[in-house]
């Protein structure tokens, strides 16, 4: 894994875009007719949603490549992508809850997209837990990859089952329709989160790489370490 600075630059650029997009969406975008100022939550919620799905799809790709091609690089990126996906999913559920309260009067409205995200959150958090309990690095890589493939394939099934289950009771529109919103803050923030996550996933993958390398490196005999001035 490389040592170059590009992920820091990318992540920094992402953060800058997020500040720009958020300020725009918060203070300068026009007010929505029916939802009022609460609509402004969409300027962070929708970008988070897009990127959560993107990161988890990347995790799926890493899992497939890890199983087919092997090599520690894909496993490291897999670990990074799963962790990033869990963070974004948790954030997404929190944002969705905050949006639902003033809009529907409840903290959770069983919206199919959001509920699917919650299920995904638990599924991938469980995979991170699995990873923590396996000591053998080879088994760890194979098992996490298998688990990610299995969980990802479930996504459309979960979505349709929840949507169907919910459709008989509620008919509210999903929050992701932002046809009345101003598009620019949304796009800027979407790229903001994207660049931020690209940078962070790469950095997190390097961390995973280093940890695994340290795991399998033979320990230096302390005499040698002292003699060579490393201690």
């Amino acid at each position: 894994m490389g040592n170059s600075r590009w992920p820091f630059v990318t992540a920094g650029l992402g953060l800058a875009l997020l500040v720009w997009g958020s300020v725009w969406g918060l203070f300068y975008a026009p007010r929505e007719v029916y939802m009022g100022d609460v609509q402004r939550i969409m300027y962070v919620h929708v970008p988070t949603a897009w990127n959560a799905m993107l990161v988890l799809t990347f995790a799926f790709a890493c899992a497939v490549l890890s199983l087919l091609r092997g090599g520690w690089g894909w496993d490291a990126r897999l670990e990074a992508a799963v962790e990033g996906g869990v963070v974004l999913s948790a954030l997404l559920c929190t944002q969705g809850s905050i949006w639902a309260r003033p809009t529907w009067g409840v903290w959770w409205d069983w919206d199919p997209r959001l509920t699917t995200t919650a299920v995904l959150l638990f599924a991938f958090a469980g995979i991170l837990a699995l990873r923590g309990f396996v000591d053998d690095p080879v088994k760890r890589a194979v098992w996490t990859a298998v688990a990610v493939v299995i969980a990802y394939v479930d996504v459309p099934l979960v979505y349709f089952s929840v949507r169907w289950w919910n459709s008989l009771h509620q008919l509210q529109s999903t929050p992701e329709t932002v046809s009345r919103a101003f598009h620019w803050p949304l796009r800027i923030n979407a790229f903001g989160v994207l660049f931020l996550m690209i940078g962070l996933v790469e950095l997190r993958a390097r961390l995973a790489w280093q940890r695994r390398a340290a795991e399998s490196a033979p320990p230096l005999p302390s005499g040698v370490a002292v003699a060579t001035g490393r201690l």
Partner: protein, 221 residues
């Protein structure tokens, strides 16, 4: 095919020999159903309304015990390595065990039906349909459950990890099974039963093929 039948026979034999454990799992499931009614309260209408949900939750919770045990003997006596050295396809091993688990979960589910009839006044005359749904639901739990059981049997904290991994995964199957059973018990005026069963069949088809495909990687050394 012969490998599969041999594996199936082995697992059915194993289950028969450990049937005392199975009785314990059944008692656990029935107790869970009792506890659900305490959680809701003695409101007969509410209990009947949610009876399908209780049945499947009870079955899901019991399945973690049943599935966790399914690879117990293989791991304890290091039989897994021995089995893999045989010239049989590891997939045969998987399907044999998964099918044996379906049978076990079906028997469990069928056994719990009288419990919900008594506790929740949840009766249906459509017995073959109910049986079919129990089999399909059991299949939905068994496919990923057997795979994850093979995985977690080889590690510590196995009893926590199996449900942790399995529960989010089987949400579609759980929803479909609960809705289907509910429609049987409470009536199906809009004819939705076939759609939910179709979803359950789709889930089973996807996971029975996928898990069989990856099983070899999960148990290889």
């Amino acid at each position: 095919m012969s490998g599969f039948l041999a594996a199936l026979r082995k697992d059915l034999l194993l289950q028969w020999r450990t049937r005392a454990q199975f009785v314990a799992v059944f008692v656990f499931g029935a107790t869970a159903l009792l506890l659900f009614s305490f959680a809701i309260g003695p409101d007969a209408a509410a209990l009947r309304q949610h009876s399908a949900g209780f049945l499947w939750l009870g079955l899901l919770l019991s399945s973690t015990l049943a599935l966790a045990d399914s690879f117990e003997s293989e791991v304890q006596h290091r039989a897994l390595e021995g089995l893999l050295l045989l010239p049989a396809d590891p997939r045969a091993l998987y399907y044999g065990k998964a099918l044996a688990n379906v049978l076990q979960l079906t028997v469990l589910g069928v056994g719990l039906v009288p419990v919900i009839v008594v506790l929740y006044d949840a009766f249906t005359a459509r017995i073959p349909a109910l049986l079919a749904i129990i089999v399909l639901g059991a299949a939905g739990l068994s496919a990923p459950g057997t795979l994850y059981s093979a995985m977690t049997a080889q590690m510590r904290a196995r009893n926590t990890l199996l449900p942790l991994l399995l529960f989010p995964l089987v949400v579609p199957a759980l929803l479909a099974a609960v809705k289907s059973t509910s429609l049987l018990i409470l009536g199906d005026p809009m004819g939705q039963l076939t759609s939910w069963v179709a979803l359950l069949v789709a889930f089973d088809a996807v996971y029975w093929s996928l898990c069989g495909l990856v099983f070899e990687r999960v148990v290889e050394d």
